[in-house]
Subunit: 321 residues, 2 copies
């Protein structure tokens, strides 16, 4: 019997509990499991219990981690530091601690404060929703998703294997990556998109004409702005703990916008069209292999491409200033 | 019998034909209709014919517009200028010309070259897909969608009424707006999102680490990048004909990004969280009234908000440099 403790029963913690508990013991590399859950807020614990995410609720952090082989810290990123500090004195040697935070380099530094004998493996499931909390939990959330794992030099093999087994039990695909690389990459494909969504809603929303604009906004606005509906606390922590990664992409985005601004100013039709052709191919190629999408997640977007030949209707009057 | 000619049988032209032809004559304010279609590319005409988008195909532009009461120019924006020039000598006095272009100020200027006696009403249905061409056409595309209409000082009432009747026939909601205002507003809620999608795909795609990043990119990337899969020709024309509107929003976006860059640098948790709370409310409020979304388009996003109270699990350690 392997005991897993989940500290923090929000969307990810609760979904993880549900996925672990619904796994067949005979098919899980961990065998039979017991899931213990704890949250600072007792109402979150009740919600998780009602969703069958945990076998047993703990009243205190001490009770939560007693005899646990694997501890999953599923709190907002900035809270992890304090949770690690509180956990330290409570953990037996050989305990494996992992987390599910969206940034990994800072968390790995905080993990260095855990007692020697306690192993840390960083985790980040590439799955989520813009809705937060136990109520949005879904046992299928991780099924087919990439699950990043980060390790240090001294991470024991057994700890790695334990966390990898947990990841496989919930149907996710382990993906080993360096914490700093993780943060820069994820800043580009996840945190930058979030920031662009936020920026779009912020600058249109503070416009005096927002009411008129709101009437015209349709599916393009809906999709590009989706991540602005995400959990403010989670996103705040992401921004604050991924400074280096983010700034690199913010700078690139600003350069890109200035570039296009000039091209538009100069009526540079050729370069603009080349850019638009390039990004379309790039994105369609990504959707084709869609390594990071779970089955079905591309379904409503991925339709056979109509033949371009048939669609060219009028030739472009070249326009250069 | 009202004859409507559609010039350009791409996604919008073909969808419009299908919607017009599937309308009951008894329920349409226009009464019985005949739809004539023309495209420079005969294969597009065949495709539209196969989809029952047109009653009759024209072999020449002359044939296409003969005896038509309403001419709908549904070509890419930059082609409209040339189409207007070609149409001018062919049109009988009293003919109504409209278009479906995503930008309206430049098109309105080009419309001034149409002979006096020919009325122009600008049109822009706030509906689309990232897939282009007759093959992606859908008679329901306009159902419930906002349909912008722009007019000049001398637009005859009868012309307005004819185009408005056509808009109502396809199930769309007429929305009168000044062409310059239209362009600035639409730049914010439609063309800026497109540019952000394009920028996201461009800067991540040209990164040396794109292959690794591609593996991690998931639904957030998918949604924010969706518009990068759009028709390059259409998007090029939009960028080139909406210079003023776009530049205003590009500048605002750059300011926003610099602002957040500073806040992240300073670890300004409070301002960042206030921003994230604000945009979430802003977007949820928009989804609530969703004036520009067709029925069902918000369905998969619009779920009751979980109660925030239950979700606060850990308190933020304030972090200010």
């Amino acid at each position: 019997m392997v005991r897993i403790s989940i500290i923090g029963l929000g969307l990810i913690g609760t979904s993880l509990g549900m996925a672990l508990r619904s796994a067949e013991a005979s098919e899980s590399p961990l065998g039979a499991l017991e899931v213990v859950g704890w949250d600072r807020d007792q109402r979150a614990v009740k919600e998780a219990r009602g969703r069958l995410a945990i076998d047993r609720e703990a009243r205190t952090l001490v009770e939560a981690v007693r005899d646990a082989q694997i501890i999953v810290v599923a709190t907002p990123v900035l809270a992890i530091r304090e949770v690690f500090a509180q956990l330290g004195p409570l953990l037996a040697s050989g305990t494996v601690v992992t987390d599910v935070a969206s940034t990994k380099a800072e968390v790995a530094q905080w993990a260095a404060t855990l007692p020697s004998g306690v192993a840390y493996v960083g985790g980040h499931p590439m799955a989520g929703k813009e809705k937060a909390g136990a109520k949005a939990a879904d046992p299928e959330l991780f099924n087919g998703a990439i699950y990043c794992l980060t390790t240090g030099r001294s991470t024991p093999q057994a700890a790695l294997e334990a966390v990898e087994a947990m990841v496989r039990t919930v149907g996710a695909k382990p993906y080993y990556i360096d914490p700093e690389e993780h943060d820069v990459y994820v800043a580009g494909i996840s945190h930058l998109p979030m920031l662009l969504s936020v920026g779009l809603v912020e600058i249109t929303g503070r416009s005096a004409a927002w009411k008129e604009m709101a009437a015209l906004a349709a599916t393009g606005f809906r999709d590009v702005s989706r991540l602005a509906s995400g959990d403010p606390e989670m996103h705040r922590d992401i921004l604050l703990t991924n400074r280096v990664g983010l700034q690199r992409w913010i700078d690139e985005m600003i350069s890109f916008l200035l570039e296009v601004r000039d091209q538009v100013d100069e009526g540079d039709a050729e370069d603009i069209e080349a850019l638009l052709q390039r990004v379309r191919e790039q994105r369609e190629g990504w959707l084709e292999t869609r390594p990071g999408l779970r089955p079905g997640e591309d379904a409503f977007l991925h339709q056979p491409e109509p033949e371009r030949r048939n669609l060219l209707t009028f030739r472009l009057p070249r326009r250069r200033s």
